[in-house]
Symmetry: C2
Subunit: 124 residues, 2 copies
Amino acid sequence: MTDALSTTFAALADPTRRAILARLSSGDATVGELAEPFELSLPAISKHLTVLEKAGLITKSRDGQRRHCRISVAPLKDATSWLELYRQHWEQQFDNLGDYLATIHEPPADGRGTRSTAPKENPS
Amino acid sequence: MTDALSTTFAALADPTRRAILARLSSGDATVGELAEPFELSLPAISKHLTVLEKAGLITKSRDGQRRHCRISVAPLKDATSWLELYRQHWEQQFDNLGDYLATIHEPPADGRGTRSTAPKENPS
DNA sequence: TGGCTAATTATCCGTTAGGTTAACAACGTG
DNA sequence: CACGTTGTTAACCTAACGGATAATTAGCCA
């Protein structure tokens, strides 16, 4: 699991870390401020922040005793790009639902060609 | 890690599983067909498929001796929805880059109001 | 300097992930 | 029925995850 995309998804696969990102999306915060809403110990939060930092999802900057954390969305963008490859896939699934609903109200007209469902590129 | 979103992201945090999804995005396949491109053992692939199935990302149907696997993109859609909450965030980051570049070529006109960077809803 | 505050690092612990090989189950076909 | 094919399940291993507490580092301030 050394690739960036895996690291990003792994970082997002934890509700605490997603909540931290959500918090940071409305502005920078210190470690203590980020820890406050949770019942976890401070070291636990610190670990989560380390995971987020290694995934490139946040950056930490020192300010006296405090560390200011800032969200950094580039990996989120990459993750979204990967997921976008499948968007047409579920949009077509939705189309198929529409087609199905249509067959309820009117009989099938003729055999339409099956559209391709593949994303443009081969994702990894 | 009991929530659906965490399960989805965890399932995506593995390059083998993402490759399997990519393969399935261009059409259904049997377990053996899915295993073929990898150097992993068949049980290893079977485990990956179980993970994907529990995440709701694929469905398996029996066809004689074979199991046909089909991609099921609803969880991908949900994951995308979550990530979309941050889209404006990186679009604004891009805007800021544009602003910065603008300041290089022309002096600042006036103090524009700072736009909010927060997603519409509170993600979890 | 001493002490308070903020956060990280060091252990330690139980659970889960991801892989292996070997055994098993289920279906098709001679 | 016997046998090959297709997958899964069982048992096992190592490494990593997510948490705790205790100790440590680093900065502020009186």
